[in-house]
Subunit: 211 residues, 2 copies
DNA sequence: TGACATTGGGAAGTTCCACTATCCAACATT
DNA sequence: AATGTTGGATAGTGGAACTTCCCAATGTCA
């Protein structure tokens, strides 16, 4: 398969495929001459993964490269690879050094143990900080409920990781970490909408929902 | 308070405040002369909210404007306002028209009822689509578990909405919808890290977690 | 009162990002 | 031999989020 067919099958312009090759998101094809290279099914799969990470996954090209590097070089253990993936991912845009202590205290209360420099910890602290400066500190108990739900999810996510091949496990971890986030957020909003409909039946006749 | 003090107290450059004023994210101050305007505490609060939405909330300026419009004009009911906020928010970058039927079938199974054109529904369908084209359809049962967790969260989110003032309710809804998302994602990653540590104790001596 | 700094407002410039377009010489195909 | 495609490189584009610059009007201090 040459680049034009690869691009066509992936549904994106050739110029964009070249761009991804240049950026190192997709490995180069096998050169069969100075102006010819051959690509295989694995290139197509990689391309689709890249598009999923950049689009729905909302990763930047630079972040995607870092995440894919973790996929390509799955260190020595799944736990390590998960750490690498998390480190590559953009937490929340944290400006200064938010108050890590509060976040750490929560974790201790929930019995969660994570690395001292875990990026997710920083992200949590930053997000809590943002809520506070936005003038809406989370109501009492809300955080605990969120933690309970997140705990179940994380537990299941990890339980689902295929134990066999390390490479496969890493790919699974990365894809599930990144691409299930939009799913989770969409589900939460849908649940909110359903709950809101039940709590606020709303007097408006019909079409109240229209724009 | 004049613009320079407003900017200083919010911790951002004056030019940026002017930019937000121009973009309509922050209402204009009260003019006290041709080259003088007065701002109050409510402007400061609004500015902080804007920064939280643009930063940790990851909203674009255009999206933030739409979301804030819902805050400023809280229609006639909380349910409606929540719909407006959801509509303004960026679901997942959905390209074509993904397969809504599958997503709808799931909702029916969970007993959730939402508007036919709910943006979250579109987002869910798009996210599932992305997972599939990325070559990693969610394992059996995973979606149900995610829905169960999301259901509890959405239920609680809605239960927490203050019933008194409509304006206050809308602000609460918007802030909680947008700013709790990073919190939820961070919590999930932390839970994953904790679960992964327990499942993969990992032979590496110490420092395996280092960069 | 006069010198100086600040303000609101607008236009233009900057930086970054994710592409996209154009070129070119080397090939392959007809 | 003519034509078209390719890999590779360089430059250009359009959008987003600021940032800089400028102005006349105005406040403020000496």
């Amino acid at each position: 398969m040459q680049i034009s067919e690869l691009a066509r099958r992936a549904g994106i312009p050739v110029a964009t495929v070249k761009y991804y090759l240049r950026e190192g998101l997709v490995p180069p094809g096998e050169l069969t001459g100075a102006t010819r290279a051959r690509y295989g099914e694995e290139h197509l799969a990689r391309l689709r993964l890249v598009r999923a990470l950049l689009g729905p996954g909302r990763l930047s090209v630079a972040t995607a490269r870092a995440v894919l590097a973790a996929v390509d070089d799955p260190g020595t253990s799944v736990h390590e690879a998960l750490g690498a993936a998390h480190r590559a991912l953009p937490g929340v845009g944290v400006d200064g050094a938010p108050d890590l202590d509060e976040a750490r205290a929560h974790l201790r209360r929930w019995g969660w143990r994570v690395a001292a420099d875990s990026p997710a910890l920083l992200a949590l602290a930053g997000a809590l900080d943002a809520l506070r400066t936005a003038g809406s500190p989370p109501p009492d108990g809300l955080l605990d409920r969120y933690a309970a739900a997140a705990g179940r999810l994380g537990e299941q996510d990890v339980a689902d990781i295929p134990a066999g091949s390390l490479v496969e496990a890493v790919r699974f971890v990365v894809v599930n970490t990144v691409l299930l986030e939009p799913v989770l957020l969409a589900l939460r909003r849908l649940a909110q909408e359903d709950a809101s409909r039940r709590r606020f039946p709303d007097g408006r006749p019909s079409g109240a929902e229209g724009r």
